[in-house]
């Protein structure tokens, strides 16, 4: 079982990102689950989304999770929420920030000793898609860190999932995914 927790603000696309990732993984024959906590949260409110991936049907519907990966797609959430809650010794963190990893860990001591990767998904999204929607770049970074799939296969799969968007936006998302893949450290 692979488990992922997303930290996001409502409106930044964590739910879409989690469902998109589940969709891609499902085409490879694995079983998936994607869900979120948001209740009646408003745009901009902190929220979490989740993925589960397994070789067998996923029957566990508990919301509690000790994640293998934590994605933080809004830079402030590493400071205003506890992104390390319910962690495991080997939990990996991919955090959107303009800081270097050293600066980030110094500013947020809870990340000390954790396996942290950084990538500036907000800047990447702004420069490619033209809007601060950091969900697809985060998935590009995840492909690099996890080595889950070949990046070309992943981009082709995401093209299908994003197909209802205008071609220009789909193309921009592909650039964003590739940039995050290349830039994550």
């Amino acid at each position: 079982m692979l488990e992922i927790r997303w930290h996001s603000r409502a409106g930044q696309g964590a739910v879409t990102g989690a469902k998109g990732l589940a969709d891609v993984i499902s085409t490879t024959g694995k079983h998936v689950q994607a869900f979120a906590f948001y209740g009646s949260a408003k745009r901009g409110a902190a929220m979490t989304a989740y993925n589960r991936v397994d070789d067998k049907v996923i029957m566990n519907h508990e919301k509690y999770m000790k994640p293998d990966f934590v994605f933080v797609i809004d830079p402030a959430l590493a400071f205003t929420t506890d992104v390390t809650i319910n962690h495991k010794d080997n939990t990996k963190y991919i955090i959107t920030t303009h800081l270097t990893k050293e600066e980030l860990v110094k500013a947020q001591p809870k990340l000390e000793g954790k396996e942290v990767y950084t990538v500036d998904c907000i800047t990447i999204a702004n420069e490619t898609i033209g809007r601060p929607i950091p969900n697809t770049p985060m998935l590009g970074a995840f492909m690099k860190v996890s080595e889950m799939y070949d990046i070309e296969f992943f981009k082709e799969s995401m093209k299908r999932i994003l197909a209802k968007l205008p071609q220009k936006i789909v193309d921009a998302n592909m650039v964003a995914i590739q940039r995050a893949y290349d830039e994550v450290k």
Partner: protein, 407 residues
């Protein structure tokens, strides 16, 4: 046909709401009258989108309340159409008056109920308060545990509800957010296969059949009221479960997916058993398997059909269990939980001397964790070891503050 068909992958990653919306599209609903409410909104939104994109030949009626939504459905069903809608919580509560009208008028309407807590305090998350509120309304109530079920059981609901021997409305329940907003792999049926399973709608006593004028929604006082209600109850008690079983059998032949009126998991040799509804059934199954690895012979019973309540099937499923937990996700507010009562009623006049204890859990979407279920199975095993119920008969799972228990 005048509408487009949709190509679906064999497995689509859908949440429970979208799965239900796709089923409504494939059943080609003539009329949806709806007043959207969280967390069921995407079902009727989905229908409206499919309609505007020419995937359905039908009509979406926007109304000013859930009371009007169900009233619109009743009118359309009495006129002779295939009718469905969706609601949750406060919307369901506002519909209650008209629910009784629909069942009393014997109108086959399918209502997707995305289960949510009832205020006050206001809460949009999933529990079974609305589902329990509807249980005396004369509707058939079928329960989905995951998005796949939410898709499949809509076809079952239309098939049973519209049968001329039945002609009773049906609710398809799914857990708010835990199923409705959780995306999982859903095995699909092609549009033709799905539609042919439910078949063309054959109206009965429809008001638009001008050759055979009929009256709907009449008044009967003490001269006839009881006979109408008794017949309705008789059909629920005697005709519905066999018809559901027939539909489950046909559906299995079509899809390979097997549903049962009462779902039994590892109950045959079980000492301890959890009985519950909704997505909790699946989590409990997973924990029961883990308990077996630890030496506790655990089983799970999921009630698939809540109304009519399957007394005989429940009795059979639980007959050799030593210690049973009835889990209710709705506050009984001054009584034992519904499942506790129904199970007690089902077992009372039998030789079964099972130890039965009741638990209220998960109100307002409170998480039911695997750790809770591990503790629960251990508590049931302690009852077996002691030969008696070692706890009060009614407890809460997962509530903060001082431990509360009753009976």
């Amino acid at each position: 046909m005048a509408f487009d068909k949709m190509e679906l992958k064999d497995i689509e990653v859908w949440d429970g709401n979208f799965a239900a919306a796709q089923a409504l599209r494939q059943c080609q609903i003539d009329v949806v009258a709806a007043y959207p409410i969280t967390p069921s909104t995407p079902i009727v939104e989905g229908y409206a989108k499919f309609l505007s994109d020419n995937y359905i030949e039908g009509e979406f009626v926007m109304v000013e309340s859930e009371h009007a939504a169900m009233s619109g459905c009743i009118g359309a069903a009495a006129a002779g159409g295939r009718v469905a809608t969706a609601t949750s919580s406060q919307g369901f509560a506002l519909m209650v008056e008209t629910l009784y009208q629909a069942s009393g008028m014997r109108l086959p309407i399918v209502l997707n109920v995305v289960n949510r807590a009832l205020a006050s305090p206001l809460n949009v998350n999933g529990d079974h308060s609305d589902m329990y509120l509807g249980r005396d309304s004369g509707w058939i109530q079928i329960d989905a545990y995951c998005p796949q079920d939410a898709y499949d059981l809509n076809f079952i609901a239309f098939k049973v509800s519209e049968d001329h021997d039945i002609r009773l409305p049906a609710m398809v329940h799914q857990d708010g957010f835990m199923t409705s907003h959780t995306a999982q792999g859903v095995h699909t049926l092609s549009d033709d296969v799905a539609y042919n399973f439910v078949g063309n709608y054959k109206p009965m006593n429809d008001m638009l059949d001008f050759e055979h004028p009929v009256t709907h929604g009449v008044q009967t006082e003490e001269d006839w009221h009881f006979e109408h209600k008794a017949r309705q109850h008789n059909d629920l008690m005697t005709k519905v479960l066999p018809k559901i079983q027939e539909a489950f059998d046909d559906f299995e032949k079509l899809s390979g997916r097997k549903y049962n009126i009462v779902e039994e998991y590892d109950t045959k040799d079980a000492d301890v058993c959890v009985v519950c509804l909704g997505s909790s059934v699946e989590t409990a199954r997973e924990v029961a398997l883990e308990m077996r690895a630890k030496g506790i012979k655990a089983g799970v019973v999921g009630i698939r059909v809540i109304r009519p309540f399957p007394f005989e099937q429940v009795r059979d499923a639980l007959k050799d269990i030593k210690s049973i937990a009835a889990l209710d996700r709705s506050s009984p507010n001054g009584a034992a939980g519904m499942l506790f009562n129904e199970i007690a009623g089902a077992l009372f006049n039998t030789d079964t001397k099972a130890l039965l204890s009741g638990y209220v859990y998960g109100l307002g979407g409170r998480d039911l964790t695997k750790a809770h279920l591990v503790d629960l199975f251990k508590e049931l095993q302690a009852n077996v070891d002691a030969g008696k119920v070692t706890t009060p008969l009614q407890q809460f799972i997962g509530v903060r503050g001082p431990k509360l228990s009753y009976l």
